[in-house]
């Protein structure tokens, strides 16, 4: 049974914000609006991290997802000529919905193993994390140094890949003209 306390209430609030805006991202026609909701959903995830006392991860979530990935998506949306304002539902909608439901079911299976009170950070908070960033730093440069170095190579490949794609397809990206009337 869910304990009635302020942590659980906050957890419910933030998870509702996250989930509702995430659903909005999927169903809303205007790509820009769904992008806006996506940012809100990222912020909701960040606040869920905060509830887990993982403030560094929360900040990283905010910075990388809400601050940078969303910019990347903004430009990606701006590259699509016509759909940005009136995005028709895809014919794969049913398939996507089924996948989503399946994934949700799997998630529930996992979650049911845990006690929900443990997920809300109450138990973690009792451990009294005072400083997460030191531990992360020590681990990242000690035990997980390989992952740390591999991350840089991954990022390098992403950059090089993007450069080569843009360079080879530079003309293809530019040709799509935009001739849609406004809503007027």
């Amino acid at each position: 049974m869910i304990e009635v306390n302020i942590y659980n209430a906050a957890f419910l609030l933030f998870s509702m914000i996250t989930l509702l805006s995430a659903i909005g991202v999927a169903v809303i026609n205007s790509l820009m609006r769904s992008l806006f909701l996506l940012i809100i959903s990222f912020i909701g995830v960040a606040s869920l991290f905060v509830l887990l006392s993982a403030d560094f991860i929360a900040i990283a979530q905010l910075l990388i997802y809400a601050g940078s990935i969303s910019i990347l998506l903004l430009f990606a949306v701006m590259l699509t000529p016509e759909v940005s304002i009136n995005n028709q539902n895809s014919k794969y909608f049913l398939f996507a919905a089924l996948t989503g439901i399946l994934f949700t079911y799997i998630m529930f299976l996992f979650i049911s193993i845990f006690d929900i009170n443990q997920l809300t950070g109450l138990s973690l908070d009792k451990l009294n994390f005072s400083n997460t960033i030191d531990k992360i730093g020590t681990l990242l440069l000690g035990k997980y140094i390989i992952a740390f170095e591999l991350a840089s190579i991954l990022l390098l490949f992403a950059l090089i890949g993007a450069i080569s794609i843009v360079r080879s397809n530079e003309s293809d990206f530019n040709i799509v003209a935009t001739k849609i009337k406004g809503k007027k």
Binding site: N174, I175, A177, T178
Partner: protein
């Protein structure tokens, strides 16, 4: 005009950097201007046609309003044209006074042009305000002489309208004393300012051949390195007696045009100082008949206005009004090169180029 890749954008008529109601329709690709169309006529007042209905004297106020930033120079050009066609010879004192006022007007106009150019480059109006400080003093001098600051209506056919008051000379001398220092101040503030150089250097380059082919004149032509100034080439008002030099630019970019204007201010100060020394006593105006009726003839008289060759083409049919009057407006002709300059450049560069050409819409549309 707009193709597949581009979109159409109106810059003007109500835009902060078109210097008046002037419209540029551009086809942009991102921030690059691919093509542009200049649309003028928003300030058209049918000046040339109206002047066929007024007497020669009554037409002088029209010329104030053509180039409203350089009313004195326009007055001068018109009066000289009419004097040539009607064989009126102004007294020597009037000629020297005309030189003084025309050069003052040149300083005021250049201050305005350079100030707005820096504003176009993005300065938060401070250089403009500094340059307005000098312009204000000059306009004060105009006001105490003829009562008006902007539309002076000061020159007359056969002289000038009023004798400057006594305190005029004292104020003028103090202004002349401080102007070279001010110009040096601007040079310190702007022409060695890294950001200003980055914004204007190599922007809007006019080659000398282009400048001549497009019939440019004034600082826009001299900025390209072509030494051509009507005050030297076809002297009028006794300019051949004055000792001054013609600054020319190096490569014809916006920076050169800016610098040419600054240097011209210094040269104008030199001219005014010499004019004050040789200012003779005597009448400031000759008597001319109330209704001047020149013989049927035609004349084209050109003077060096602040923006370039300011020409008045007048045809008379023996009546009291011109049969046809045409103003060769330097802004209009200088503007014609904008399309070539701005095409392919970015929007900020086009704005700086337009600012450096220094147009006045009143003169373009007339």
């Amino acid at each position: 005009m707009a193709t597949e890749d581009t979109y159409e954008l109106n810059i003007g008529p109500q835009h902060p950097s078109t210097h008046g109601v002037f419209r540029i329709k551009v086809a942009m690709n991102g921030e690059t201007i691919e093509d542009l169309d200049m649309i003028v006529g928003y300030l058209h007042r049918s000046m040339e046609k109206l002047s066929e209905e007024r007497t020669f004297t009554q037409n002088i106020p029209f010329t104030d309003r053509a180039d409203y930033l350089a009313a004195m120079s326009n007055n001068l050009g018109y009066c000289l044209a009419i004097e040539k066609i009607a064989d009126v010879i102004p007294p020597q004192r009037a000629t020297v006074l005309r030189v003084i006022f025309a050069e003052l007007q040149r300083i005021a106009s250049h201050a305005m042009a350079n100030g707005t150019l820096v504003s176009d480059a993005g300065a938060w109006q401070t250089p403009l305000m500094y340059m307005f400080r000098e312009r204000e003093k000059i306009l004060d001098l105009f006001e105490m002489t003829c009562g008006a600051r902007l539309t002076t209506n000061y020159m007359r056919i056969g002289g000038v309208a009023f004798e400057p008051p006594d305190e005029f000379y004292a104020q003028l001398n103090s202004l002349l004393g401080e102007l070279p220092d001010r110009v040096d101040e601007y040079m310190e503030m702007l022409s060695e300012n890294e950001i200003f150089i980055a914004r204007t250097k190599n922007v809007g380059i006019i080659t000398p051949e282009d400048a001549i082919n497009a019939s440019l004149s004034g600082p826009a032509l001299r900025g390209s390195g072509v030494p051509w100034d009507l005050r030297k080439a076809e002297p009028y008002c006794g300019y051949e007696d004055y000792d001054f030099e013609i600054p020319v630019g190096n490569i014809g970019d916006s920076y050169d045009r800016f610098m040419v204007r600054l240097f011209e201010v210094k040269e104008s100060v030199k001219i005014i100082k010499q004019a004050l020394n040789i200012l003779p006593k005597g009448m400031h105006k000759t008597q001319i008949p109330l209704a001047l009726r020149p013989e049927p003839d035609q004349v084209y008289f050109r003077t060096e206005g602040p923006r370039g060759e300011l020409g008045y083409f007048v045809i008379t049919d023996g009546g009291p009004a011109p049969y046809r009057m045409h103003i060769r407006a330097p802004s209009f002709i200088n503007l014609s090169l904008l399309k070539k300059l701005a095409t392919g450049s970015s929007l900020p560069d086009a704005v700086v180029t337009l600012g450096s050409i220094d147009i006045v819409v009143g003169e373009i549309d007339r």
